[in-house]
């Protein structure tokens, strides 16, 4: 591993494979019959032999369809899932932006700012010093002192986003979290992400939508069925991905017409 690659990359992933067992419903069995189990344990190879680097101080988009392994990759980077093989090297503490992580719905927004901040790895002093800024950013008015059970989903999402993006992590991982709130807040959220980038934060944005990734990112990685299909400038990767989707839908349509 060269020194140059260490300097330029915030995350280096080498030959990473992640497999796990999940409990799934038995096919063709809507419920249990007598003592027969309606579920079975199935091994899932979510990522296989993935090698990819994420440059420091840039926003990288992670695109791919359902089951491509995007969330698995993020969870492995953050440390929730462990590699079955290979390794992930990180230059900085990662934080997965999760709406409402650590929140207690019965507590007020103000109390949840403290709880969410602590859950995100901030110290108590850090959360207290940023509390006013977070509340101002969330912009939910007097609701801040009411239990979060009284919030609309948009308000809850704004508060959660505000807490998560004031964590000041060295590596921020965003999994489709920008959909929180109305159009005005989404604009504010995008500006916040840009602000984080300007302060040399490394960000990975996951989305099904190549448009959202194009808007946010400068680089992109396309995952397909647990493998890296393409990596490069965001426009190139997003265009190729879009062409692939168009081709796939055309092929599916042709097959369906043939069957008919």
């Amino acid at each position: 591993m060269s020194l140059r690659s260490e300097i330029d990359n915030a995350i280096e992933i080498q030959n990473l494979s992640v497999a796990y067992s999940a409990v799934v419903a038995q096919s063709g069995s809507p419920g249990s019959s007598g003592f027969r189990r309606s579920t079975k344990v199935q091994k899932i190879n979510a990522l296989s032999d993935v090698s990819v680097n994420f440059p420091a101080g840039k926003v990288t988009g992670l695109i791919g369809g359902n089951g491509a392994g995007k969330s698995t990759l993020l969870k492995t980077i953050v440390g929730v899932l462990k590699p079955s093989a290979g390794q992930v090297s990180l230059s900085g503490r990662p934080h997965l932006l999760t709406p409402g992580m650590g929140f207690n719905r019965v507590l007020s927004g103000r109390e949840n700012v403290i709880l969410g901040g602590l859950a995100s790895g901030m110290s108590l002093e850090e959360v207290r010093s940023k509390q006013d800024e977070i509340i101002e950013f969330a912009d939910i008015g007097n609701f801040i002192d009411l239990p979060t059970t009284t919030y609309s989903s948009g308000m809850f999402g704004r508060l959660a986003f505000a807490v998560a993006t004031h964590v000041d992590p060295e590596i921020l991982l965003v999994d489709e979290a920008l959909s929180a709130g109305d159009t005005a807040f989404r604009k504010k959220a995008v500006e916040r992400i840009r602000g984080l980038v300007a302060s040399t934060k490394t960000i990975i944005v996951v989305s099904h939508s190549s448009a959202l990734v194009s808007e946010m990112a400068t680089e992109a990685v396309w995952l397909h069925r647990g493998k890296v299909r393409m990596q490069g400038q965001v426009d190139t990767v997003a265009d190729t991905y879009k062409a692939f989707l168009d081709e796939s839908s055309e092929t599916a349509q042709l097959q369906s017409e043939k069957k008919e």
């Binding site: 990180l90 207690n104 507590l107």
Partner: protein
């Protein structure tokens, strides 16, 4: 979970498994991590414990939030924290008094039962709330963050201990009315409280982990705990099984036998003539509590990533 807290020495980042890396372009000291698979699934313990310690404030606030959210929609609110175990004790006092024909006029017996049921509530609520918190994903902590997952049952232990300490305050008048007296043995209370929490924490970790694979455990748990309560000298006196015999020996092997007999001796201030000494009972309970906590902890952390997948 494969996660290491960094060791920072000047400008060199030292990885716990031996890899070294130099700092980045700006020379700032950054934390660095390498995640790799381990054969046992158990992460390096020192680093895991350091990370757990880092999140101690979160565990305390989580615990405070949990306590605040309980009974928040009732008129009596937090008063229920004191009322619940007292009423629990009163019910058993009436129940056992009628069943045994022992009468209902003994305040000593009432005090004995109420206190023991406070201890039982501590133990059982650590187990039940830990299993339930882990099953529910701990507010996203288990499924989406790198926080050591043991923080979730740890917070449940804090909550239960907090409630137990409040219960102790509520118990004091009853202790005085029952004339159980003030004794030098009270000095053992901090140690016994620590051991009780440790034992409950260990049991909670074991059940919480098994429950991830076998969801029936949480259904079975209330029945198991009730049966365990009846087999423990919490609502009957520990002197009843001092004689030899298979059943009595089995009753004394029960880890909560040594716990409740120690608590009773502490509160009453003297050992039963010919019965076990306080020191011996504390020692026996330690021999249960410490290994249970260690085994539970290792079992739990070796399966941490399963919590994210199966929740």
């Amino acid at each position: 979970m494969v996660q290491w807290a960094p060791l920072l020495v000047d400008s060199i980042r030292i990885f716990p498994h031996g890899e070294n890396k130099k700092n980045g372009r700006n020379g700032a000291l950054k934390a660095s991590y390498v995640r790799k698979a381990t054969r046992s699934g158990i992460p390096p313990l020192r680093d895991y414990l350091t990370e757990t310690y880092r999140f101690r404030t979160f565990a305390m606030y989580w615990s405070k939030g949990e306590l605040k959210s309980r009974n928040f929609d009732t008129t009596l609110g937090r008063l229920w924290h004191y009322l619940n175990p007292f009423l629990f004790g009163l019910i058993y006092f009436v129940f056992v008094g009628i069943l045994t024909g022992g009468g209902l006029n003994s305040t000593t017996r009432l005090a004995f039962m109420v206190f023991n049921l406070y201890v039982w509530t501590l133990l059982s609520s650590v187990v039940v709330t830990s299993v339930s918190s882990v099953r529910n994903g701990g507010g996203g902590v288990l499924t989406n963050s790198a926080i050591p997952k043991v923080v979730v049952p740890l917070a449940s232990t804090f909550s239960a201990t907090n409630l137990f300490l409040r219960s102790l305050i509520a118990y004091i008048p009853l202790h005085l009315i029952a004339d159980r007296g003030l004794h030098i043995e009270f000095l053992w209370i901090p140690l016994m409280l620590f051991l009780t929490c440790l034992f409950a924490f260990g049991i909670a970790l074991i059940f919480a982990t098994i429950n991830i694979y076998l969801r029936d455990v949480s259904r079975f748990l209330p029945h198991f705990l009730r049966l365990w309560l009846y087999l423990s000298p919490a609502i009957w006196e520990f002197e009843r099984v001092l004689d030899s015999g298979v059943i009595n020996t089995l009753a004394r092997i029960n880890p909560t036998y040594s716990a409740f007999s120690a608590w009773t001796i502490i509160l009453d201030g003297s050992s039963v003539i010919g019965g076990p000494s306080l020191g011996r009972q504390v020692l026996i309970f330690s021999a249960w509590a410490v290994p249970t906590a260690v085994i539970g902890f290792l079992f739990f952390i070796s399966r941490e990533d399963e919590f994210a997948i199966r929740n």
